[in-house]
Symmetry: C2
Subunit: 227 residues, 2 copies
Amino acid sequence: MHLANPTKQTAVTTADKVFEQMQHAIVEGEIPSGSKISEPELAKRYQISRSTLREALNRLEKCHLIERKANVGSRVVDCTIEGLLELYITREALEGMACRQAAKNMSDEEIVDMKAMLKLHGQTQELKDGTAYYQEEGDLDFHYKIILGSHNRQLIDLICGQLYHLVRMYRCQFGMNSPRASRAFNEHSQIIQAICDRDGELAEMLMRRHIAASRKNIENKIAQQAL
Amino acid sequence: MHLANPTKQTAVTTADKVFEQMQHAIVEGEIPSGSKISEPELAKRYQISRSTLREALNRLEKCHLIERKANVGSRVVDCTIEGLLELYITREALEGMACRQAAKNMSDEEIVDMKAMLKLHGQTQELKDGTAYYQEEGDLDFHYKIILGSHNRQLIDLICGQLYHLVRMYRCQFGMNSPRASRAFNEHSQIIQAICDRDGELAEMLMRRHIAASRKNIENKIAQQAL
DNA sequence: CCGACAGAAATTGTCGACAAATATAAATTA
DNA sequence: TAATTTATATTTGTCGACAATTTCTGTCGG
């Protein structure tokens, strides 16, 4: 299993473990989007008390996977088109800035590391052309590396700790298997070049275009489906 | 008291109330930055059980006012220069985008409402020139209005629900009483004009400069203090 | 005197039960 | 029958106690 959250170490407490299980279950739609969450039922299913379940629910709420209302209960967030587009707008802002900061703050080792990863992605892409899964994972790894390279804890926590769980959820539930793999690969190359040149302004611009292109790609797909 | 969080309705459960009290206490430094939080002690102080205290702590963690480590405990986040600058970088990205979206999505009524507010701020500034407090509150109100005007729940929640508590905390603890009031007022006017013209690109650019200027102002102050 | 180790104290994590609030079902009335 | 009210049942919020882990304290050996 690839790392879902590169900032946190492995879970120790049982609430952490249940949180991770539920996170996967929600992201992959096993617990359906929009459904109500029954505390007694889930506590029984995971063999834990309601207290620790509520602890897990709090963490799920932190990454916006569920929503709670006082004296009413929790619901899994429902995946809407508007929500997806809003998410991409936010990503564009945050990851654009993270990319600018990465160009400024990444160490030389981090940069060569990132280049190596890109090279690897190019090879696997040649081999497994068509099956987009590896590119899918690779895309997330690429973005993670840049975000971490910003060396800005605020950005890192917001994007990796919160937004990206939602991103993965939408990708799963809408079956978005990165259809623009080769194009994305070229865009990734350009971005890394800009970071390599320490050109923060260009790096931010390219990253924003990269994400905006992804968003527009989705919008087109939606428009197509509506026919 | 002015509204700390315009998105949430008034607190109903006791955990909510304790959360709000602790939030104020932390923002204003009554519970010192960087200090460890003793669950038994605070539970006794607020006359509640540890369970509801922990519920309140979870909400404090959600807005990044405290940090928790498993089996160790919670600490109030400590205000460092680096943290402050990182926060402003993040604000620049998020509020810049929010401003762009506001230019696109704000209703005409919202715009005239915002204009009226600006006019009011100009008057109070004339009257109370020098005492920056009203401008301080006004500044936050201005930013809130634009963020809400983005009509993007993701942005609204991230900025208003999380970042701004930290912003207020830093303002309190570092005693930043908005020393650039008149200049900020002019910048606000320009931004509103751009929104009025539905020029999202310019609006984002101006907002980013506005926040970047504020950040640089802080950097200069710090450099001055270091002498 | 310093560091490693063992035991004691305190703190956090987890549990089951009760109180308060909400949602559901039944009953009454127009 | 439809709407409103009442009663029931379920769910959430809160509490105090126990278990597991960490931190502190004091002792011993080098």
